[in-house]
């Protein structure tokens, strides 16, 4: 590449500067450095809040196999007032930022939902909602500028993409340890009900720095299908990868505007049992960490997915632009028959689009093994997100903010949760014998804003507008949970080296080139070598060290 740089500078008549520049640059410079680290969360038990479960007079209808939460199929008929008194006392507006997937909901001035909840809070929360798919980019810029809102939602999976995150936490956010540790948390009874395991992940630099939003399901992805479309074609939900791929060819018919898939590469990896711990690691028999790129399973998955692209089974809009809306192509248009999504996609899509298409039936495809033996499912049972409080707000303000978070954390069976999830009766929902059913306004205005600045002891449902959902989800979850991957680094918080984080996207893009047929499969070895040289080996050493320090 030096050659091309010379040619280029030569074009400008600057070749003299280029030759002089080499030693000059080397002479008075140092290359920037930075690195990661690991913390053993077992050490911080004394920082965590003491758990105290809420006494609710309702119990779940369907039990989940832990870590799958239990579910409610019926909306409780009597609701309690979980919180007496208004959490807000100052009246001073609270700024907050949360992610949203899909169209952004209207702001505080135009939203009857935000106004209603804010009235109950006694203090207005003014949300900025940002596209969830590019949330990390916004976070990076915001943290780098040290310009954060009073309540900041940071999704768990984005943290891995943010360099120097623990330094940012130290510089920008309030230390909550003394507010919440031990019995101090009793001032916030909803927070005290969170599972202790989720609090462990909210420790940075050996202090409790955030309020976790405990995970309500341990799976990062699921493959969904339109069962109604399959039935119309006389097909049933596939039971193996071969069946899925055969069916994909059957349903793909461009003349009828139908394609089998959106980008389903992570699911194809899961079917091939590619490792997924800490976003792609596992231990070899000799206890050295191994990343997914290095495994034969990943190559098989790569080949299968590349063939899916080559055979034209992925919807062309998805292939052509990041601007395409796969959710609509799947749930509304039916041009995609199998779509990969986070589990949270299911209920919202079913509820919203069944209003127009009553036959709509979104169902998950069971997880299967492409290579024989038991299947494997990646694990994502760390908190969904964390709520950070901006540093320097003062003790009283921090307490007020924690009371607001506490209010937003009220569980199912409370008036607060009804308002948070279903808005105002008559405007956002109508009451039916089964419970509240959302109106169109609700789909427009309610976008989990308050959910993302709080947390709950996880439960599933109830969802009166999709009466079969909780049963279907728990059926699928209780089956899938048997195959949950074991994480060798469970309970260790690892911050990857910056070099590794910086090369994560370029490496993924190189594999995307292979997937889309722009690079041959034979290039994989060189991409892996490049990955090793660009932080891969450092990450491996860090993970190995973290394990040996934890005595595992």
């Amino acid at each position: 590449m030096t050659a091309s740089r010379r040619t280029f500078l030569g074009l400008l008549g600057l070749s003299a500067a280029a030759t002089a520049g080499g030693p000059l640059l080397a002479g008075c410079s140092e290359k920037p450095t930075a690195s990661g680290g690991a913390e053993n969360l077992d050490k911080f038990a004394n920082l965590l809040p003491a758990r105290k479960e809420l006494a609710l007079n309702i119990s779940p209808d369907i039990a989940g196999t832990p870590p799958v939460p239990s579910g409610y199929t019926k909306y409780p008929s009597t609701l309690i007032d979980a919180i007496t008194g208004k959490p807000g006392t100052s009246g001073k507006e609270i700024t907050a930022m949360t992610p949203v997937w899909g169209p952004a909901p209207p702001g505080i001035g135009q939203s009857a939902y935000l106004q209603a909840v804010n009235a109950e809070l006694g203090v207005p929360v003014n949300f900025t909602t940002q596209d969830g798919n590019t949330y990390a980019d916004k976070l990076n810029a915001m943290l780098g500028a040290r310009d954060v809102p009073e309540l900041l939602c940071v999704p768990g999976w984005e943290i891995a993409k943010i360099p120097r995150f623990s330094e940012a936490v130290k510089a920008l956010f309030e230390d909550l340890t003394d507010h919440l540790k031990g019995d101090a948390v009793n001032a916030y009874p909803m927070l005290a009900s969170y599972p202790t395991a989720s609090w462990r992940h909210a420790v940075w630099n050996e202090r409790l720095m955030a309020v976790p939003n405990p995970s309500d399901g341990p799976f990062p992805w699921a493959l969904f299908t339109r069962k109604d479309l399959l039935e119309a074609r006389g097909l049933a939900i596939p039971k193996s990868l071969d069946e899925l791929l055969t069916m994909a060819k059957q349903v793909t018919d461009p003349a009828k505007n139908a394609w089998a898939f959106d980008d389903v590469f992570p699911m194809i990896q899961i079917y091939h049992k590619v490792p997924g711990s800490k976003f792609g690691w596992r231990l070899k028999a000799d206890k050295t960490p191994e990343f997914k790129y290095e495994t034969p399973e990943y190559r098989q998955a790569l080949e299968v997915m590349a063939k899916i692209y080559k055979d034209g089974l992925v919807h062309p809009d998805i292939v052509a632009s990041k601007g395409a809306d796969a959710g609509l192509l799947f749930a509304q248009a039916g041009s995609i028959v199998f779509k990969q999504a986070g589990v949270g996609f299911w209920q919202g899509a079913q509820a919203e689009h069944q209003k127009v298409n009553p036959k709509l039936n979104i169902q998950p495809v069971p997880v299967f093994s492409a290579t024989g033996g038991d299947p494997l499912m990646w694990r994502a049972d760390e908190p969904i997100s964390f709520t950070f409080i901006k540093k320097g707000a003062g003790k009283e303000r921090v307490e007020e903010l924690l009371r607001v978070i506490n209010w937003c954390s009220a569980p199912v069976g409370s008036q607060e949760a009804l308002l948070r999830e279903y808005g105002v009766e008559g405007k956002h929902h109508t009451m039916t014998p089964n419970g509240p059913v959302k109106t169109d306004l609700a789909f427009k205005e309610i976008a989990n804003q308050y959910f993302f600045i709080s947390g709950r002891n996880p439960t599933i449902g109830p969802f009166p507008d999709t009466p079969n959902y909780v049963r279907d989800l728990l059926g699928w979850s209780n089956e899938t949970v048997k195959y949950l991957e074991a994480d060798p680094w469970e309970g260790l918080k690892v911050e990857m080296p910056d070099k590794f984080k910086a090369f994560a996207v370029p490496a993924e893009e190189k594999f995307t080139d292979v997937l889309r047929g722009r690079r041959p499969m034979s290039d994989v070895d060189s991409i892996v070598a490049e990955w090793k040289a660009n932080g891969g080996e450092e990450a491996r050493d860090l993970l190995a060290k973290a394990l040996s320090e934890a005595g595992r």
């Binding site: 280029f8 290359k31 632009s321």
Partner: protein
Amino acid sequence: MKRPRIPFRVRLQRDWQLLVMVAPGFLILLVFSYVPIAGNVIAFQDYNPYLGDNPLEAFLHSEWIGFGQFQLLFEDPAFWHALRNTLTITAFQLVFFFPLPILLAILLHSLLSSRVRGFIQTVVYLPHFFSWVLVITFFVQMLGGAGLLAQTMREADLQPWNIMTNPDTFILLVTAEAVWKDIGWGTIVFLAALSTIDQNLYEAAAADGAGRWRRLWHITLPGLRPVIVLLLILRLGDALSVGFEQFILQRDAVGREASEVLDTFVYYFSIATGNYGYGAAAGLFKAAIGLCLILAANKVAHRLGEQGIYAK
């Protein structure tokens, strides 16, 4: 010839209204263009935004590493790749995009009916106000694998062309998108320049027997020349910026190889990874090249007897 010097106070008294009018614009320039220049200091630092108690202290406390970021940058094949792509696209668009608004302006100018002209102008201006997401969605709906063209071809039992996801023809695609979006907008300046050409010249030429093409060659184009040269110089100064969103949106469709330009490089290797010093170094390099190009182009313009963007 030397004009008599007017004292400052007298000039102030005479011009103060003008100065007041300029003040807001100047203030914006100062706050958003000049003050941030100081931030370029991080190109020479191992910048850590979390040092100290505020952003200013972060600048002061970050470690000084001289040209380390530049050294990394110049050793990075991805950077040279992005630079090469950017220059190729600029060169291509200079030849195949830059002249088009001139042609369209001349064409519009020759229309007699002002109503027809107004209508066409409105239609061709409109896409300029669309966002890139919309423009690309429009192209996908028309030319993509599930779009109008592909479906029509399928109905006719033809194999649809691969237009939206072919890295080899990506440069044509982005240029076509840019032309569709901005050709109308680009005509505005040229139409204004055309309206200043003396109509008598055309009449005199016609009386002397000059045909349509000779009038175009000897009157219209020379009349437009200063404006063309000015815009060409400004475009050259911007040579290393060819767009951003347009490339981000289509990145997965054609791959990094074809779509990486300097601005996306800075985004992926600096903003998205929090490696600000590195991005600042790339940005500074880009600005330096842009300045060189402007100076060089201006010099050429002076040689050709044009005024350029500033007089000598």
